[in-house]
């Protein structure tokens, strides 16, 4: 009788979730919205489902002779567990304090080992000639006096041109700015 009730509960759950039932083989292979983010799927099941599952296993060990039926039933139960929205699973993912601190130590140790291999994006060379592949070749080349004098002449002409720029007022500008008038 207990077994029949368990089956009935299971079928009711399945019927309520029929609209969102998916092929279990496909969900197992690809990562979809039905795939659990947390590794331990057992904890994602509701306590009711876990109980039903364990009860079924206990009850069915004697009364179910066929292995195919058992597999089909467990597949249905698993399918239901995947499709059921389980708010109660929120509280089931707390780490023990000791495990938490152990993991922190482990991660810190591993990260220290890995930091040396990480290419820091901010370590891009900055400064003059940074984009030149063989800048030392050009740096060590002698600078000719003709080139220097040409650059000086060019800079002098630019300076004269800039100082010659004058602003001519063609229209009377009457801008009155009231400032601290009581």
């Amino acid at each position: 009788m207990e077994y029949v009730r368990s089956i009935w509960d299971c079928l009711v759950s399945i019927c309520s979730c029929l609209h969102c039932t998916e092929d279990i083989s496909r969900t197992a292979q690809t990562e979809t919205e039905r795939t659990h983010l947390l590794a331990n799927d057992q904890q994602n099941q509701s306590p009711a489902l876990r109980r039903t599952n364990s009860d079924l296993n206990n009850d069915c060990s004697q009364s179910l002779p066929k292995k195919d039926d058992q597999d089909a039933l467990s597949r249905l139960v698993q399918d239901t567990a995947i499709n059921m929205i389980n708010v109660g699973a929120m509280d089931s993912h707390h780490l023990e304090h000791q495990e938490y601190t152990d993991k922190i130590k482990l991660y810190t140790q591993r990260l220290h080992q890995q930091w040396n291999n990480i290419q820091h994006p901010g370590n891009v060379p900055k400064g003059l000639l940074k984009d030149m592949p063989n800048h030392q070749f050009y740096v060590y080349k002698p600078v000719y006096s003709e080139d220097t004098s040409q650059m000086k002449k060019f800079i002098g002409k630019c300076h004269i041109g800039v100082t010659d720029i004058k602003i001519e007022h063609k229209e009377a500008v009457a801008v009155v700015v009231p400032f601290r008038i009581p």
């Binding site: 990562e31 983010l37 780490l95 993991k103």
Partner: protein
């Protein structure tokens, strides 16, 4: 090198006005990297808060909205942006008036590091 990483993430923190915390954890909420300004926002960094995000993502996907990768929680004084970068979870905590778009834009600037940090988790 870890100083450089911390400096880089602190620089990201300064880039967004009103951003208090950047934290990278595994899916159980165990921190791998944490930079913060002096603000008391521990509620969002408690070990129970981050696993709730992963479960919420998991369960919310079944509502028919599809697989989401970011959850933004707005509170009266704070906002928490959590990104699913499995096996890592990226958590940003900022002021309620902090520009959420700027926080979301940090995702691309952090991604260069995530691949390497993931190795520390996947090897565990």
């Amino acid at each position: 090198m870890s100083d450089d990483i911390n400096k880089y993430f602190n620089g990201l923190l300064q880039k967004v006005s009103g951003l208090y915390v950047i934290q990278i954890t595994d899916r159980d909420g165990v921190p791998l990297l944490h930079v913060s300004q002096e603000k008391n926002v521990d509620f969002a960094l408690m070990p129970s808060f981050i696993p709730t995000f992963t479960t919420a993502c998991d369960q919310a996907g079944k509502l028919g909205l599809g697989r989401n990768k970011t959850i933004i929680s707005m509170y009266s004084n704070y906002q928490v942006v959590q990104m699913n970068k499995l096996p890592l979870i990226l958590t940003f905590v900022g002021a309620e008036n902090c520009n959420t778009g700027h926080i979301l834009a940090l995702e691309h600037q952090v991604e260069a590091y995530l691949e390497n940090i993931k190795l520390a988790v996947t090897e565990a």
